[in-house]
Assembly symmetry: C2
Homo-oligomer: 335 residues x 2
DNA sequence: CTGAAAGCGCTTACAG
DNA sequence: CTGAAAGCGCTTACAG
C-alpha cells in the first residue's frame, strides 16, 4: 500500500514535522490552533486514513479482543444465542475503540489443547470465552498471560473472572412460581453433567423443592442430551408430574411436542416452563413461561471487565451474576 | 508488553542475528538445518509468540477482512441467518491466515454515509458486505479503494462483484413445482421493493406464471413488510389462491398461522412454500417445502473472491449465482 | 509551539 | 549460509 497517504506526506506538504501532524490529528497539546486546523483540513483533503497498526506496533496493543466460542455452541440452529451475544459484544467494543475477533474453537483444537492462532500471533489483547469449554482447556487458557473473562459459564476450580446469568436463583424463583400455582409433582429436564448452567438451574429447582418439603425423585430428573450436547429423545416418566422445569426453551419445545404426541395437552394436563426466552419460547404452543437472559448486560460486563483488566493486570471481578427476568406466558396452569 | 520475547531475544541468546531467526522460524532459505532446529527449539522453550502486527506493518496488510452487516439484518430474532454466514466466513478466513472482523452498520451511520471505523483506521484489507445496503451507501462504498464483495445482494447500477443465491431460478422452479401439482391460482407474498432477493424471487415466480399462461393478478402480490423491513400484518386476498409462494420461511410461517386463524388448513385448503430453509421451515406445522440456501458455498466464494482481489486489484468476478436446492416437505397438496 | 531522534518487531534486499 | 542496514507509520520523551 505504497499509495497510502501518511502523516509524513501531510507534514512534507506543509513543511512541518510528522510529530506536529501527529499531535494535531490526535488533538494533543503542543500545536498552534491555526496550524492544527490547517493540518486537519489537508488531511481531509488528501484522504488521509489513520494507521492503527502503527500505533498498535508502538504500544504493543492490538486493540482487538478475541471472542472464543466452542464449535458445539456455534453449531447450526442453536447458534443464534451465542452469536447474538457476540454481536452485542462487538458493538460495545467498537464504542470503546476495540474490535472483536470471533474465533470458533473446533472440537479437535479443544481436545488437543491448541490455543487459538489469534493468541499465537499476538492478534488480540484479551479473550472473552463464550460458552463452556473442557476442564483441560480451561486450565490451558488460564496459563496464558493475557486478560480473559468467562462468559455464560464458570469453573469452580479456576479463579478466572466469570459472568453468568443467575441461573440458580432464577430457576429457584421459577419453581417457586409453580408451587404457588398449586403444583407439587415437579420434574426437571436437563443433563446435570453437561454445563454449569444446567447444573445450577437444577440446583435452584432443587432448593425450591427442599423449601417446599418435597423429596427429590430420581425419575423426575430427566436427561435431554448426550455427552456431546446432542439432544436425545426425552423419556417421559411413568407417572406424569404436574409440571416440568426445562433447562432451556428448545428442550421445553421438544417436550411439549412429545407430550402432545403422547396425548397430553399443555398446560391443561401438564405445565411446562423453559429458560432463555429465545425463539423457541414464542413458537411453542402455548408460548412458554421462561426466564429472559439479559444478553446486553452480560455483554456489557464482559467488555468492561476485560478492558479494566487490560488497564490493570491485577484487577479481578470474581464470579459475577446477572439477574434473569421471569416472563410469564401461557404454559403454566393454576391447579 | 515489554515482557514479550522477540526474535531479537532469541537471536541474542544464540549469538546470531534476528534476520537468521526470522528465516528459521518462517522456514525460509538461507539458514543451516542444524541452526534452524536450534532456533525453533529455543523459540518454543522461551515461549516465543510471533508478532503478526510487525509483519502487517511492514507489508501494509492487516490480514483482517471486515464483514459489514446492516443493523436491520442483524436485529433480534431474524439475525441467525446472517450471523451464521458470518460465522462460516470467519472459519474459512482463518484457514487462510485471515481474520474476519464483524461490523454492524447502524441505521444512522448508513443514513449519514459514515464509513466503518475499521476502514478509517486501516484495520482491514477488504470488505464483505453482507446484506442489502442503501443505494447511497453502495455508492459510498464503491468509492473506497480496497477490495469489496457484496454477499446475498447486488445492485444493478454498481459493478461490484456479488454473490447471491440464484433466487430467480429457484423461485421459478419452486413455482413450476406447484403447477406440476395442479395449482393454477398462485399468489406471491413479499415486498417487491425491499431487497433484490425478494424482487428476483418474485420475477422467478412470474416467469413460471408466464410459461404456464397465467396472468399476473395485482391482488395476488401480497405485501409482507414496510420500508424499514418490519413485518406487517399480512392481508389475505378476497378469493383465496390454491397456493402461496412466500419470499422467506418466516413470512410463510406467519402466513400459515394467519390462514389457520381464518379457518383454513395447510396444505388441505391451501398450499404454502417458503424460501431459506431456516428454523421457521421446520417449526411450521406442516413443515415447509422451501429452498435451501447454500451458506457454505456463498461464504467460500466471498472469501475466495476477496482474497483473489487482494492479490490482483483488477480481478473481477461479476454477479455470481449460487444454486439453491428445493427441499420437499408437507406444505404442498397435490390437486 | 515545534521537531530530531529513537523505537515498536518484523522483513526485504543486498552484501559478504 | 549469515547478517548489517533500512524501512513499514506512528508516538514518546526530550531538547530547543
Amino acid at each position: 500500500m505504497k499509495n497510502n497517504v501518511t502523516m509524513r506526506d501531510i507534514a512534507d506538504k506543509l513543511g512541518v514535522s510528522s510529530v506536529t501532524v501527529s499531535k494535531a490529528l490526535n488533538d494533543k497539546e503542543g500545536v498552534g490552533e491555526e496550524l492544527k486546523l490547517k493540518i486537519k483540513a489537508l488531511a481531509e483533503q488528501m484522504g488521509y486514513r489513520y494507521n492503527a497498526m502503527a500505533k498498535s506496533m508502538k504500544e504493543g496493543l492490538s486493540y482487538n479482543i478475541g471472542v472464543i466460542i466452542p464449535e458445539r455452541f456455534a453449531g447450526t440452529e442453536q447458534s443464534s444465542f451465542y452469536l447474538n451475544v457476540y454481536k452485542s459484544i462487538t458493538k460495545i467494543l467498537e464504542n470503546k475503540g476495540y474490535y472483536g475477533i470471533l474465533n470458533i474453537l473446533s472440537h479437535s483444537d479443544e481436545k488437543q489443547l491448541n490455543l487459538p492462532r489469534i493468541y499465537n500471533e499476538n492478534k488480540v489483547d484479551g479473550f472473552i470465552i463464550l460458552g463452556q469449554i473442557s476442564k483441560a482447556y480451561i486450565q490451558k487458557i488460564q496459563e496464558i498471560d493475557i486478560p480473559k473473562v468467562f462468559l455464560d459459564f464458570y469453573d469452580e476450580h479456576a479463579d478466572i473472572d466469570s459472568i453468568t446469568t443467575d441461573n440458580f436463583y432464577a430457576a429457584y424463583e421459577l419453581t417457586n412460581y409453580l408451587f404457588r400455582n398449586g403444583h407439587q409433582e415437579i420434574a426437571y429436564v436437563g443433563n446435570l453433567y453437561s454445563t454449569s448452567s444446567i447444573q445450577d438451574r437444577f440446583l435452584g429447582y432443587y432448593k425450591s423443592l427442599l423449601e417446599h418439603g418435597r423429596l427429590l425423585k430420581q425419575e423426575f430428573i430427566i436427561n435431554d442430551r448426550d455427552e456431546e450436547g446432542t439432544y436425545i429423545d426425552i423419556k417421559l416418566p411413568e407417572t406424569l408430574p404436574t409440571a416440568f422445569v426445562c433447562n432451556c426453551d428448545q428442550v421445553a419445545h421438544n417436550l411439549v411436542q412429545k407430550l402432545n404426541k403422547a396425548g397430553y395437552k399443555v398446560p391443561e394436563d401438564c405445565s411446562v416452563v423453559g429458560f432463555d426466552n429465545d425463539l423457541y419460547a414464542t413458537i411453542t404452543d402455548p408460548a412458554l413461561t421462561t426466564v429472559e437472559v439479559d444478553i446486553e448486560q452480560m455483554a456489557t460486563n464482559s467488555v468492561n471487565f476485560i478492558l479494566e483488566k487490560l488497564k490493570d493486570k491485577n484487577k479481578t471481578f470474581g464470579r459475577v451474576l446477572v439477574k434473569g427476568k421471569i416472563i410469564y406466558r401461557n404454559s403454566v396452569q393454576k391447579l
